[in-house]
């Protein structure tokens, strides 16, 4: 297979992994963000946590595999992205550890204080993780101070300004909305009624942020629309994105929460696609000099490795898809507490 095509396929596959991660971990991060506000007593908190109990670990694997695949297919991009976001990534890792252990340890001891501590930990780590992912995305969109030989010359403070912060807020609201719809599917009775009200409010918050960030991107990130201007067919992405956003309240109104969940997944997929379209053919843009950009061409592995990896992916991904389906099937239906729950 030709090298250019292989490179592009790997760019697409990474997009698929990142989208898969955002859709799947998106809802469980959202559940973590909503957890202290929705559940009233310990039983409800456990219901909320156990709605994602068997699923969150597998969801997080998408991020781990994305990291591994980026390392293998575009090692330069991997090295540059992670060393540039040094401090932010350590905070993100702290959050991911915090989430894992909050879930795992919360119900292991019968003490209200113990549980409260892990509840706070679960919320804070979910919220911060979602926010940091958004901030990182915003920075990558807008470009960063990359110097010669892919070395980052900025610092943590140059990553924190209004645009990435707004993208961070957008991500938090999107995941919270996505998580709320998921919880609506998994719960019953009074708890479900409460979630229904929250969905409406979250939708308004998200919709406003969505508009604001869209306008901000036009103003602040002019290169984001270049690809769309060059290939007008790509207009279909933002268009479908907007339609998907509007379809969420419609689906909820029609009383089809499963359809609403599918729609919010599509919103995430469309946003991830827009992100990829905006940065293509780069991974990271240098605000100092375009010659320092990390591009698909200068970041990729050898043709042999991309080929081997494609074989690995072709064998592995159907297996992954089948386990995912099996697990979601086994744990389908409303969440119930039993002796094995958190």
């Amino acid at each position: 297979m030709n090298y250019e095509l292989l490179t592009f396929i790997w760019f697409l596959l990474l997009g698929v992994l990142l989208t898969g991660y955002a859709i799947l971990d998106g809802f469980d991060l959202g559940v973590g963000i909503l957890h202290p506000f929705i559940a009233k007593d310990d039983r409800e908190r456990r219901l909320v946590m156990n709605s994602i109990g068997p699923l969150w670990d597998g969801n997080e694997v998408w991020l781990v595999t994305f990291g591994g695949a980026l390392f293998a297919a575009f090692p330069v991009a991997y090295a540059t992205v992670f060393s540039s976001f040094y401090t932010a990534f350590y905070l993100l890792l702290t959050c991911l550890i915090g989430r894992a252990v909050s879930l795992e340890f919360r119900s292991k001891v019968h003490s209200p204080t113990w549980r409260k501590v892990w509840d706070v930990g679960f919320f804070l780590s979910s919220f911060t993780a979602a926010f940091l992912l958004g901030v990182a995305g915003g920075n990558v969109m807008a470009g960063m101070e990359l110097g010669p030989k892919y070395e980052y010359q900025g610092n943590l403070l140059s990553q924190i300004y209004w645009y990435p912060l707004m993208v961070g807020c957008l991500t938090v609201s999107l995941f919270a909305l996505h998580g709320a719809i998921f919880l609506y599917l998994k719960t019953e009775d009074e708890l479900q009624d409460r979630i229904r009200k929250v969905i409406t409010k979250l939708f308004y918050v998200f919709a406003v942020l969505y508009l604001v960030v869209s306008v901000a991107t036009f103003v602040h990130v002019p290169h984001a629309t270049e690809n769309i201007a060059n290939y007008p067919i790509l207009w279909i992405v933002p268009l479908l994105n907007a339609l998907a956003v509007l379809n969420i309240p419609r689906a909820m109104h029609l009383g089809k929460p499963g359809y609403a969940f599918f729609t919010s997944s599509m919103v995430i997929a469309a946003l991830a696609t827009l992100f990829s379209v905006a940065i293509f053919p780069n991974f990271m843009l240098s605000t100092l000099d375009p010659a320092y950009n990390v591009t698909l061409d200068n970041a990729r592995s050898s043709q042999g490795t991309l080929q081997t990896m494609l074989i690995i992916a072709v064998i592995g991904m159907p297996c992954v898809a089948s386990y995912t389906v099996i697990i979601y099937w086994i744990f389908r239906g409303k969440v119930k507490l039993d002796s094995n729950s958190y």
């Binding site: 992670f82 894992a100 081997t308 592995g316």
Partner: protein, 490 residues
């Protein structure tokens, strides 16, 4: 302190902490599978109680392994960007294969293993346990391959790339299978897996011995011991054999590491003796208080007592690893290994005679063996990793062509400052100390609570069946032990 020292400290610290958990998961996974297989074959509720109990212990440990493992994957990019660019073509594919072939398998079926007891049938549950256990082994396979490639690289060549006007080298794969089956990956993998199986077997044996000493959970403890003791003996013996194989290869592939492990400073034409213990002093190139057995090192390395082994003086001065740490850690590992073979052998013997329960001293010895196994695993890791310094990727010779390696000092991220690394070390020291405390606390809770008895379990299942809906059970229910439902709070 400079970025290099700090980054090395950080990597060593985070990976040693991480490495507490995966070997235990791998080892415990196998024991859990054997227990569940026994349940599947006999349908005896006592086996089920045992399997459910080990599942809970396994889950706590697995969560820690996952949480600390994610850190490792990103640390290559954050702290070792130059290294990542150099090896990405090779190392990345192993890491990606681990994600696709191992992590998805483990994490998917872990859900069924932990949460599926009352949802799927015994056959599906047994299958899930097998998948989780295999997944954790596959994960070891790819990680050990990636590590081994750095120690004995093969199947690659060096390509010089123009990076904005400067030519920079990087390794590119020429043969995938050559990379995977590099000269040390098989030996290293079998030795690593055996180390993990030893830890798992001793962990189960330890908890069961503790129950026998405390006169609790007799039925489950005896059953599990009948699996754990023989496997502990078999795996300790196998790890001695695989370890010996690994060490023998070093004279070809990493003579500097071998010389460091044995504190063998001076080459001579005489047969080489083996230093049993001592205090190596690299500056004066001597071993203080050393006790040496003549001929033994030559015999061990070459199966020939007269052939001399090359010493540290054969290695260029700027390519010599530290000696003290690899020497002591290697000897500690071998010493603990011998101790474990002894304890496992004795325990099996008295078990066979039916008198183990009377030998309280031996039961106590078994109780402490997981610490020995864990220490041996860590010590082996330190020997392997410190012994390869100053190389992060060893130079190698392929088809007569010398391939360049990469020194640890050249693998760093240039954009990262000492300040940043230091703050992440402080942050992670705090988090990891807390985690460790919580892990010990929760694990202890689980062990103190112990398995349900067969009757309790049968009753629980009958009730579950009758009320069919688990939630009703939770509302009406008397909690079944500390791990079961806490219905009392409503």
């Amino acid at each position: 302190m400079d970025v290099e020292i700090l980054s090395r400290l950080q990597f060593a610290g985070t990976i040693m902490f991480h490495y507490l958990f995966p070997p235990l998961s791998i080892g415990l996974g196998l024991q859990l599978f054997l227990c569940e297989l026994a349940y599947y074959r006999t349908r005896n509720p006592a086996w089920e109680a045992a399997a459910r109990f080990w599942t809970r212990v396994f889950a706590v440990n697995f969560a820690m392994g996952v949480a600390t493992g994610i850190v490792m994957e990103f640390e290559f990019g954050t702290n070792w960007a130059a290294y990542s660019r150099f090896v990405g073509d090779v190392f990345g594919s192993a890491l990606a294969a681990e994600g696709i072939f191992a992590f998805f398998l483990e994490s998917g079926f872990l859900a069924v293993l932990v949460f599926g007891w009352d949802r799927v049938g015994p056959k599906m549950h047994l299958f899930s346990t097998l998948m989780v256990s295999l997944g954790s082994m596959f994960s070891a396979v790819w990680i050990v391959i990636a590590n081994s490639w750095q120690q004995t690289p093969a199947g690659y060549h060096i390509v010089w790339q123009d990076v904005q006007g400067e030519m920079m080298p990087r390794a590119e794969v020429t043969s995938f299978w050559g990379m995977v089956l590099n000269p040390s990956s098989v030996d290293r993998l079998t030795h690593t897996l055996m180390g993990a199986f030893v830890l798992g077997a001793f962990f189960v044996a330890s908890v069961c011995s503790y129950y026998l000493l405390r006169n609790r959970h007799h039925d489950v403890a005896k059953r599990c011991l009948s699996i754990a003791l023989p496997t502990a003996l078999a795996f300790t013996l196998l790890s001695a054999i695989t370890g010996h194989d690994s060490a023998q290869k070093l004279v070809e592939t990493q003579p500097a590491k071998l010389a460091a492990m044995e504190a063998h400073f001076h080459t001579s034409d005489q047969p080489t003796g083996l230093t049993l213990f001592g205090w190596p002093d690299a500056e004066n190139e001597t071993v203080k208080f050393g006790v040496k057995v003549p001929y033994l090192l030559s015999l061990m390395v070459y199966n020939d007592p007269t052939k001399p082994v090359p010493g540290m003086d054969q290695i260029p001065e700027d390519e010599r690893p530290p000696v003290w740490l690899p020497f002591q850690m290697f000897h500690l590992m071998v010493g603990l290994g011998t101790l474990m073979i002894g304890v496992a052998g004795l325990a099996c013997w008295f078990w066979y005679r039916g008198t183990l329960i009377e030998k309280r001293w031996l039961l106590w010895a078994v109780v402490f063996m997981p610490i020995a196994a864990m220490t041996a695993n860590q010590a082996g890791w330190i020997t392997a990793e410190v012994g390869r310094q100053p190389w992060i990727v060893y130079p190698s010779v392929q088809d007569g062509v010398e391939m360049m390696g990469l020194k640890t000092a050249d693998g760093l991220s240039e954009s990262v400052t000492a300040q940043q690394v230091l703050s992440s070390i402080i942050l992670f020291s705090i988090i990891y100390s807390l985690l460790f405390a919580v892990w010990v606390f929760v694990l202890n809770n689980k062990i103190q609570h112990g398995p349900e008895s067969a009757e309790e379990l049968t009753q629980y299942k009958r009730k579950l069946k009758k009320e069919s809906m688990a939630e009703n059970f939770s509302r009406s229910g008397k909690a079944l032990g500390g791990d079961m439902l806490d219905g009392g709070e409503q």
